[in-house]
């Protein structure tokens, strides 16, 4: 709060940057400088070609010493770019680094008023005057350090989560890998092959799955969901719900005294189970029992009882015998862990393409989605890798692939964005058809083929050479012949300028991808924002693609936006590296932008508690009174509480009410303050 240095008369230095012609091209620097010198308390005002350069910084450092400055203003670009630079210079010059204020005369001025030199110059004067007004009231502030727990959490064990967990663990960090499904592997484990190399997806994925299972630093927790998150970077207290799966691991069995017992994955229980349900791993095209594993390569190899459908007949328990692995009365368990940082890798799901009713998914038997196609063509899938028409089990000879199905769709029904990997997997599908049904013909209905990655365009040429037919046009509708169940794909070939109507045996819709239902839930727990379409927001789209605006929380994979496997893995490695830094450093410095409660004024009404988006405020008893208390490490200094407090009891450091009022006055009153 108000300190003694405030009594000292302000001596402010102002430095105006040309930024080459970025600023000087639209703003009269000389005029701005002359004006600045007329502002009260400004003892030095200088201009320079590039203030952020080494000579520019030296200039600032020397001026602080020479003029014994109490505050510094730099009129240049956005503080998001060079605020750290000038803070460092302030510190080097012997001044507290928080006595620095930046006036943005580039992004918010010269770039947007390129053709109005006079207006831009006047606006720059306003910005500098306002910055000086705040600089007069700046105070010494001191960042705080908090220790960081030597552990990390990765939420979601698809390929992105697996990679992030392996990297974190291999750098010596205890890593909790949380997966809501009974097995890890995610979407990638459902795929048959990967483009453009045509590797078998499971073959390249399972070694990593096994590594995760065996890694001494990874604690794998499947069939587990995040229940609640408290704390802040360095000290997240996470409560996990381990859902009751009704089956004991060998360790759990031993703990109960059944030495040598527990599930060994023998599978004897499965045939005796009388309950049949669709298997979501097979896109509901194959059955599973109430006690099940998704597929033979699951990690961990542990059966799971779906208690929503189990009738508790006890047949599994009987056949399991001495292993005593079955516990039909098992309850959900809550586990608390403490971690320093977290990586969210919660993946995606397919857009419900039946909403595009003109294509008839779920109405016509022979219209399927791309993930259903993956399972049909996969050797371990429900048909043993034989592609069939769902209506009659026949081998299709003419197959239509509808690309951009629900992507790049501005009708308000689908998604406006490009889902980024559908072009490539549809090319792969066309190749797989060529491999498995040599006399079949593939038709790809596309808008543009986006083959942007390494060796992708070459793959596109290869598929063209293999004989796939490419028809450029959005599919207007698909009609079914009720007798044969064949499909008529109706579109316009926009290259020929002709309507086309092609009869095919099977249609595969390359459905758009969207965030899962859980994405929103998980992001709220961790305080991560999302874009309008639900994908999680990175801290900066170019320069901080793995971080989030919540310190200590990072993103990997498709939950941040559609991406293929190489990109998902690359981002996962980036997120793991970023998440490991605070842990390896061992402590984090927090910006001192937190709120402070003036306990004398605080009436303990508690209205601020619910408003706080970061759960940083609590009501506590102090000397017989209820007052608000701030957990400084959690507070982001957003000012919501400070702006609202009916008693004016909350002081926002670095954005205090007097500082903001002074800026507003400086703007509204012009030079007449």
């Amino acid at each position: 709060m108000v300190d003694e240095t405030q009594s000292q008369k302000p001596r402010i230095g102002v430095y105006i940057c040309h930024c080459g012609t970025n600023i000087a091209g639209s703003i009269d620097i000389k005029e701005l400088q002359e004006y600045t010198l007329t502002i009260p308390d400004v003892v030095v005002a200088d201009e320079y070609q590039y203030v952020c350069s080494t000579p520019g910084q030296n200039m600032i450092e020397e001026a602080i010493k020479e003029h014994n400055l109490t505050a510094l203003v730099v009129a240049a670009c956005s503080p998001r770019l060079h605020e750290p630079t000038f803070r460092r210079a302030s510190k080097e010059g012997g001044m507290n680094q928080f006595r620095f204020e930046m006036a943005n005369i580039r992004e918010q001025n010269s770039w947007v008023h390129m053709h109005d030199r006079e207006g831009a110059t006047e606006k720059a004067k306003d910005a500098v005057r306002m910055a000086v007004a705040k600089a007069r009231l700046l105070e010494d502030l001191h960042p705080k350090s908090v220790p960081v727990e030597h552990a990390a959490m990765v939420v979601g064990a698809g390929i992105a989560g697996i990679q992030a967990a392996l990297d974190l663990a291999s750098s010596g960090i205890k890593t909790y890998l949380i997966e809501k499904a009974p097995t890890i592997g995610g979407r990638m484990s459902q795929l048959d092959k990967t483009f453009p190399t045509l590797d078998c997806s499971q073959c390249i994925l399972t070694p990593k799955m096994v590594d995760v299972d065996r890694h001494e630093n990874i604690e794998l927790m499947t069939y587990t969901e995040v229940e609640s998150v408290e704390g802040y970077i360095g000290n997240f207290d996470v409560t996990l719900r381990k859902k009751a799966n009704g089956v004991l691991t060998m360790e759990q069995a031993e703990a109960r005294g059944f030495v040598g017992g527990g599930c060994n994955g023998c599978g004897d229980c499965e045939p005796v189970c009388p309950v049949i349900k669709p298997n979501p791993f097979e896109m509901d095209m194959a059955p599973r029992k109430a006690i099940y594993i998704y597929h033979p390569q699951v990690v961990p190899l542990l059966y799971t009882i779906d208690f929503d459908s189990c009738v508790k007949c006890g047949l599994c328990e009987e056949i399991c015998g001495d292993k005593k692995a079955i516990d039909l009365e098992m309850q959900d368990e809550f586990i608390k862990v403490k971690v320093g940082t977290a990586v969210l890798a919660v993946g995606y799901e397919l857009f419900p393409i039946e909403k595009k009713t003109e294509w008839g998914y779920k109405r016509y038997d022979n219209v399927i989605t791309s993930l259903e196609f993956e399972r049909l063509i996969c050797a371990s899938g429900p048909t043993g890798g034989k592609v069939i028409r769902p209506s009659d089990g026949e081998t299709p000879k003419k197959i239509g692939f509808v690309l951009c199905a629900g992507s790049r769709d501005n009708t308000g029904i689908g998604k406006p964005y490009c889902s980024r990997f559908c072009c490539m997997y549809s090319l792969k599908h066309a190749h797989q058809i060529y491999e498995k049904i040599p006399d079949a013909q593939s038709y790809l209905f596309y808008m543009d083929i986006r083959s942007f990655g390494k060796m992708y365009e070459e793959f596109y040429y290869r598929i063209q050479d293999e004989g796939a037919k490419f028809i450029r046009g959005r599919v207007a509708k698909i009609e079914e012949d009720p007798g044969t169940k064949n499909l008529y794909v109706i579109t316009e070939d926009t290259l020929l300028g002709q309507p086309v109507n092609i009869e095919v045996d099977l249609v595969v819709l390359a459905s758009a991808v969207q965030p899962t239902e859980e994405t929103d839930h998980v992001r709220n727990l961790f305080g991560v924002s999302c874009s309008g379409d639900g994908w999680l927001n990175e801290a900066h789209p170019k320069l901080n693609p793995c971080g989030t605006t919540t310190a200590g929380v990072f993103l990997a994979g498709v939950c941040q936006g559609p991406k293929d496997i190489p990109d998902a893995v690359a981002q996962a490695e980036g997120a793991a590296a970023a998440a490991s830094i605070p842990i390896h450093v061992g402590e984090v410095e927090l910006e001192p932008y937190f709120a402070i409660c003036n306990e004398e004024k605080c009436a303990g009404c508690g209205m601020c508690i619910d408003l706080c988006p970061y759960a940083a405020l609590d009501l506590v008893e102090k000397e017989g009174r209820t007052v608000m208390e701030v957990t400084e490490a959690k507070c982001k200094g957003c000012g919501t509480c400070g702006g609202f407090c009916p008693g004016g009891a909350i002081w926002m450091q670095h954005f205090s009410t007097p500082q903001i009022i002074a800026q507003i006055d400086a703007f509204l009153l012009g030079g007449e303050q």
Binding site: T357, E358, G360, R363, T411, K477, P482, G483, Y488
Partner: protein, 305 residues
């Protein structure tokens, strides 16, 4: 269900009274048995035809439609109509003028010359949609009104374009009549009359007439109609039904024209939904003026059990 009678201003359109007067008669008579009273909209003009007028002069199209709307506003009653073309004009102009101040001002400028003003106080609905509405009639009440069920016949339903599309502008999704790519609510209505609705290829394809196609290029229009007839006959339809006299004209007269122009012989009877409802409620073929149809309805009538 209460015995309350729902009153509507009945917009006849042109084709029904002039070409198929049985539709008009059936609409008025059958509605009475469903708790719906259709009152004459005196002084109404052509809707006007959306293709012929709308594609040439929007101002004329909107002003004429608005005049018809004002007549109903003066009666303080919602409009009921029996033709998809009329629906396109009257419903859509009502919707546009209610939501766009600038268009409404433009139209009111024209209406001022005849001392009228569009106020936007009423709604416009198709009679078939009203009959399907549970709050007014509903499928069960419709079935209860049937005295001579139409058993033993297969009926191909043609919804017609203007009733359901463009999807973005229509409010059918909101009103529970369902989706526009594969609607099934008319199937429910037909089944309530005792007949068997059949599914066929390209159910939602145009009849060929609308949008000025029949007037502009009759051969092209008939080509589309012929394709629909092929698809309907493939599944053994004994009759075609629709809720639009212009579609009816295209299917009915069209079969004769296809014979003349392409040499393909067709003889599938075409009956408006209200005509079928009339038969099911015991009206005679004479009352329904079925003898005015181009394609004889006799084989259909004979097949009824």
């Amino acid at each position: 269900m209460s015995g309350k009678t729902h009153q509507y201003a009945f917009f006849l359109g042109c084709i029904a009274p002039n070409r198929y007067p049985g539709i008009e008669a059936a609409a008025i008579k059958t509605s009475k048995n469903l708790g719906i009273e259709l009152l004459p909209l005196k002084g109404a003009s052509c809707c006007p035809a959306p293709g012929a007028f709308g594609s040439i002069d929007l101002s004329v199209w909107m002003s004429m439609a608005a005049r018809n709307l004002v007549l109903a506003e003066q009666m303080n009653m919602d409009i009921a109509l029996i033709c998809n073309g009329c629906y396109k004009s009257i419903w859509e102009v009502n919707h546009k003028l209610k939501h766009h101040d600038e268009l409404r001002d433009r139209v009111n400028e024209v209406l001022k010359e005849i001392d009228m003003e569009f106020k936007g106080t009423i709604d416009v609905r198709h009679l078939a949609e009203i009959i399907y509405d549970e709050n007014i009639c509903g499928v069960a009440k419709l079935a209860d009104s049937v005295t001579t069920p139409l058993t033993g016949v297969k009926i191909a339903i043609h919804y017609g374009c203007h009733l359901l599309k463009p999807r973005k502008e229509r409010e059918f999704d909101a009103e529970g009549v369902g989706e526009t790519e594969n609607p099934m609510w008319m199937e429910e209505l037909i089944a309530a009359l005792g007949a068997e609705p059949v599914q066929y290829r390209q159910k939602m394809q145009c009849c060929g007439a609308g949008g000025g196609v029949r007037g502009y290029d009759i051969a092209h229009a008939l080509d589309i109609t012929n394709e629909k007839l092929i698809n309907m006959s493939e599944v053994g339809a004994d009759a075609i039904t629709e809720v639009c006299p212009f579609c009816q004209l295209q299917f009915d007269r069209g079969q004769i024209e296809i014979g003349e122009k392409f040499g393909v012989k067709w003889a599938i009877p075409v009956l408006h939904f209200n005509e079928l409802l009339g038969l099911a409620q015991g009206m005679s073929p004479q009352d329904l003026a079925l003898d005015l149809h181009g394609i004889s309805c006799e084989p259909f009538l004979n097949k009824l059990q």
